[in-house]
Each structure stands twice: as C-alpha cells, then as structure tokens.
C-alpha cells in the first residue's frame, strides 16, 4: 500500500463516517478494509464489521434463516448517517424496525455537511459525563454525611421540645451519652451473651 492510496482510503473512511460516501465508494472501502490489517483503519473496520454482524440479525435475516421468504433488505447506511424507524405493514402486521439510509452527499448535494457542533458531540458527551458524575458524587456524599449530621457550627440541645442554647450542657450530654455507650458496663460482653444463651436453654 503506497502512502497516497492509504491517505485516499483514510479520507474515504472519514467521509464514510460522515455519511458522505456513495454506495460505490462504500463498497470500495469495504473491499480495501477486507485486505488490510493497518491499525489506522481499526475504527472503520470495527464499525463496518459491527454493521455486517447487525445486518445478519435483522428480522429479514432471521426469517430467511427460518425458511420464510425474506422481503428485500433495506440498504444499510452509515453509522452516523442512518436512523431506525418503526413501520407498520398492513393491518394486524407487527411493527418492525427498518434501517433507512439518509441521503449521502454523493446522492444528494443537500445532505448535511459535518458541522462544528457534530464534531464537538463526543467532547460534549465527555464533558456532560464528567459533570454528571461530579454532581451525583456530591449529592451522594451530601446524603451520607451532612444530612444526618447537624448544621455546621451548631451546638444545642432540645429537652422535650424546649431548646437549651447552653454549649456546656450539650457537651456534657454528649459525653454522658458516649460514656453510656462505650463503657464496659454497656458494651456487649461475650460472657453475658453466653449466660443469656445458656439460661434461655434451661
């Protein structure tokens, strides 16, 4: 493969991704990709391989496998240049997905040219993802730590609905509560548990 032809096919692949190639050019690209292992074409090869595998799983292909006469298979379009629509065929018929090809630049000069926005879509997706992860992370952290905890700087007690704004009272109350929780008298003693178990079995 000489450099000029590689550049040509790279350009062709780029145009294929942008849905600007004709069917003849797409076939030419497929033929070329079938005979090269150049890693520069991995993306196009993966996308075209995916489409080929997907085509084998379309309802028509499945019916063909089952021996039912297949309807004409819709032409597969490009990854970026196709849409899936639902169509109902006749009364009582089941709806099926039909891949429709959007007009390519070669077929229709009015076809959309790649815009700055389209080129920014992946970057925007990443930015949105990072922002969403950050917001969700912050929200989850807030749920866990701050909503159970009192407001920052607060130090108060309520005794049966009566507020006591006495810092010493609150701290003493806190200490007494923790002494009650962590003192050996309160904390679970394995011997106590065993006594309870054996007494219960008597």
């Amino acid at each position: 493969m000489d450099k000029k032809s590689k550049e040509y096919y790279l350009s062709l692949a780029e145009r294929w991704f942008d849905a600007e190639t004709s069917e003849a050019e797409e076939r030419e690209l497929r033929l070329f990709l079938a005979g090269t292992d150049d890693p520069d074409f991995d993306e196009a090869r993966a996308a075209l391989g995916f489409l080929a595998a997907e085509a084998a799983q379309t309802p028509d292909a499945k019916r063909a496998e089952e021996g039912v006469a297949a309807k004409p298979v819709a032409t597969l379009g490009h990854v970026r240049g196709r849409t899936a629509t639902q169509s109902t065929v006749g009364a009582g018929a089941t709806a099926e997905a039909v891949w429709q090809r959007q007009p390519s630049a070669a077929n229709d000069p009015s076809a959309a040219k790649p815009t700055v926005f389209r080129r920014l879509v992946p970057a925007l997706a990443v930015a949105a993802g990072v922002a969403a992860a950050f917001v969700l992370g912050r929200l989850s952290a807030t749920d866990v730590t701050l909503e159970v905890a009192p407001q920052a700087g607060s130090c108060y007690s309520y005794v049966h609905g009566v507020e006591i704004n006495d810092e010493d009272f609150a701290v003493t109350s806190m200490e007494n509560t923790l002494y009650d929780l962590f003192s050996p008298v309160s904390a679970p003693d394995p011997r106590t548990d065993l006594t309870l178990i054996f007494n219960a079995n008597k």
């Binding site: 991704f17 991995d42 993306e43 993966a46 996308a47 992946p122 970057a123 997706a125 990443v126 949105a128 993802g129 990072v130 969403a132 992860a133 950050f134 917001v135 969700l136 992370g137 929200l139 989850s140 952290a141 749920d143 866990v144 730590t145 909503e147 159970v148 905890a149 009192p150 407001q151 920052a152 700087g153 607060s154 130090c155 108060y156 007690s157 309520y158 005794v159 049966h160 609905g161 810092e167 609150a170 701290v171 109350s173 806190m174 200490e175 509560t177 923790l178 002494y179 009650d180 929780l181 962590f182 003192s183 050996p184 309160s186 904390a187 679970p188 548990d193 309870l196």
Partner: protein, 145 residues
C-alpha cells in the same frame, strides 16, 4: 477507535457516578423528626470545635422512651443500616435489638457511626462522624470521669 472510546467514556462516567452513589442512612428520617415526636425526645446536636478533643466533627443524639411503636420503627431502621455497616457490634435480647455500634468506614479517614442502646425503658440513637476510630472512642469513653 478514539471516537468510540470517547463516546463510551461519556456514557460510562455518569453510570459510574450513580454506582458510586451511596444511599442515605435509614435512620436519617429519625433525625429529621419524621418518626419520633420532638416533644418527647431529648436531642443533642454538636458540629464544631467542641468535638475536636474526641477526633469527631459531628454528633447528633436522640433519647426517647423505649417500648413504643415509634421506638420499634427506630429499631427496624437501625437494623436496616446494620446491613450496610462495615463493622458492627449488636446485642439482641429476646429477639429485640438492645445494643448496636455500626461503623461506616468507606470515606476514611472520615468515619461515621450509628449507635443504638435500649434498656427497655429509655432508648438512645446516636450519629457521629469524624476521624476517630472505634478503638479511639472506646479508649476515650471507657471510663467515666
């Protein structure tokens, strides 16, 4: 391939954010005043420098009458949180929870604890957070001054 990677990352990052999200504690609704009548509890809340000596940054406790349907609800909520705790010490007497220390250590060095104690007459529910480990707290509060 680079584009595919970028698109996949764009999809996976929000998903990972959701997966990392942790649910709020079940006992949160007790501290929010949605279970117990505020007029019947003794509440203490401290968040600030007063707790520095104990390596804690927040403390919130509720003392209330045990044996009521509301107290049973609190017990159930504590048990729900116990299922998610990294470390826990629980004591049951006649099928009732009487003592629980639940440690949530995933955000270390910021540890969180939910404690519960009931003697059949009075019950205490505590939330606290800080850098203190369970051993720190036990050694500090093992003996009453």
């Amino acid at each position: 391939m680079k584009r595919l990677l970028i698109i996949v990352l764009g999809i996976l990052l929000p998903l990972s954010g959701m997966l990392m999200a942790q649910p709020a504690y079940a006992v949160k609704k007790v501290f929010d005043g949605k279970v117990l009548d505020r007029g019947s509890v003794v509440e203490t809340a401290i968040m600030g420098k007063q707790l520095a000596a104990y390596h804690l940054s927040s403390f919130h406790s509720l003392k209330y009458a045990a044996g009521t349907p509301e107290a049973q609800t609190v017990e159930d909520l504590v048990l729900a949180d116990a299922a998610m705790a990294n470390e826990k010490e629980t004591v049951f007497v006649d099928g009732r929870l009487t003592y629980a220390i639940l440690a949530f250590l995933e955000e270390a060095p910021f540890n969180e604890y939910i404690c519960y104690q009931s003697d059949g007459t009075t019950a205490t529910l505590v939330y606290m957070g800080g850098s203190a480990t369970l051993d720190d707290l036990k050694s500090i509060f093992a003996t009453k001054e």
